[in-house]
């Protein structure tokens, strides 16, 4: 009995670790290759061989700065709108009686394949409301994509908000704005920042919706995808590595914030 339990535990540990290797090793390997100075796609021989050659080469790519700027603006707008809508969802969710309908509506976009959402929105904007595709249509598409995840994160943080806190504040004479500023926002801040982070990172890395919804100006993901299909030089690894590093740094900042400041975990 005991040995069988140990065997089960050991095999589950190994399965989990193997899967984590399967998920993370390729990206990590790519990151290492991006620092290789020569023309060969291999890992640098020693630590002294690490070079930023391909990263520097990125500065010479003409279309890249515009794509990067486009993605950052779209990401920030998406983060702002997504966290605002999540906040509103959290605020109204408390008072709703038929909660499951509202929640179902909010998370519905998860169940629509990305390509269908992108395609239907593009046609909707162009033919039904006669709006030309631009940065702003991409933002709307990305908010729709990120909102389900962001709303869930926000609702989790709102579940820690007791109705009695608000009543107490009201009894002490606080008006609606004061209640929000001193009670609701401080208690749900973690979820709202989480929603913004979801919005930014999901938008930055999103491809298929942007492909259908952007006008003439491509996003970073679209630019990168084009380079990958075209078989460019090793600077594609540097570009991919750069995006990985941006995402990882933001995650580390978030981790520090949640673990050491909010003490969530």
């Amino acid at each position: 009995m005991r040995t069988s339990k140990i065997i089960i535990k050991a095999s589950l540990w190994s399965l989990t670790i193997l899967v984590l290797i399967f998920i993370f090793l390729p990206s990590f390997y790519l990151l290492l290759i991006s620092f290789e100075p020569s023309e060969l796609a291999k890992i640098p021989r020693g630590f002294s061989d690490f070079s930023l050659r391909w990263y520097i080469r990125l500065f010479h790519q003409e279309r890249l700065p515009n794509a990067l700027r486009q993605s950052v603006i779209i990401g920030l707008l998406t983060a702002g709108i997504t966290s605002f809508l999540s906040l509103l969802s959290g605020m109204s969710y408390r008072k709703l009686r038929k909660k499951s309908y509202f929640l179902g509506l909010l998370i519905l976009p998860i169940f629509v394949p990305g390509i269908i959402m992108g395609l239907s929105l593009a046609v909707f904007f162009r033919k039904l409301v006669s709006v030309h595709c631009s940065m702003y249509t991409v933002v709307l598409g990305h908010v729709l994509y990120a909102l389900p995840y962001a709303a869930i994160v926000t609702l989790v943080s709102f579940s820690g908000l007791k109705e009695s806190f608000i009543e107490a504040a009201r009894d002490l004479g606080a008006n609606g704005f004061r209640v929000f500023k001193d009670i609701i926002f401080p208690l749900t801040r973690g979820g709202i920042f989480g929603a913004a982070l979801f919005g930014f990172l999901l938008s930055l890395n999103e491809f298929i919706r942007a492909f259908f919804l952007s006008g003439w100006q491509e996003t970073l993901s679209m630019y990168m995808f084009g380079q990958m299909k075209g078989g460019a030089d090793l600077s594609i690894y540097a570009l991919a590595g750069f995006i990985l590093l941006v995402s990882i740094s933001l995650l580390i900042i978030a981790l520090i914030y949640y673990v050491f400041i909010k003490k969530v975990i």
């Binding site: 990206s27 790519l30 509103l88 509506l105 982070l197 995808f225 990882i248 975990i265």
Partner: protein, 291 residues
Amino acid sequence: MKFKVLKSDRGIFFFIQLLPPALFVIILGVLPLFSIVIWSFWEPTTYWIKPHLTIAAYYKFFTMERYLTFFKTLRVSLIVTFLALMIGYPIAYFIRKIVSEKYRSVLLFTFIIPFFLSYIVRVFSLRLILGRYGIINNVLLRMGLIFAPLEGLLFSEVAVHIGLLSSYLPFMIFPIVLSLVRVEKSTIEASQDLGATFFQTLIRVIIPLTKPGIFAGCIFVFVSSLGSTVEWDLLGGITEFSTPQMLESLMTALKFPSAFAISTLILAITMGALLIGIKYANIAELFETLE
């Protein structure tokens, strides 16, 4: 009917808070889908469509062998969903029921990370593993198991399966972890006290109780695989052609009704799966912790 949800202490403010997110999803998330379903039955003109009912687009779908591509994509998505369940379930069980509290949050966080990394980069990096000079071929050559690099690893349907699995496996794990929260330790112990072996407990007690998570995870993985282009584009090679790629080319060729008809079929399948999940597996239960 709106007035029924109105409680006495909810003023106009409540609606100001409720309406923006609700209207946002209804107008941008639901309305466009309804439009393309309706438009799939309209007649094509040179640049757009005109309101004239026809099922020509669906007829073409079956006569022009588009259904072959469609069924291939369906098959691949189903296989990936099945593999993800087989791999994801034990991992979810391990995370929720076996590992200690300390490792649990670390593991959960580790499985969240892929959500935040570019899936294009993650799929692209698989080329370095599967390619002619990739890690797998290198290792096999060094071990002397093969004498020439295997060619069929990359740019094949196998590579597409691997890519989809690596992209969407975390989508399977989280719903199952959520549903396992509801399986009490005492329930498992009771089953074992009554003489059930571990596998009997698993099949007759744990799996039925986690049905909502299993269903939700399967729908997530299936829907995501079905609508994914990147894996096919970057790992599938030139000969592999998928439904999403077919949609892209139909849209560029301005064959709107055909593209809408295929989208409608995909939507029908995913929404059907969702309805079955809600009705028979009670997936709404998963989110009850939020209420």
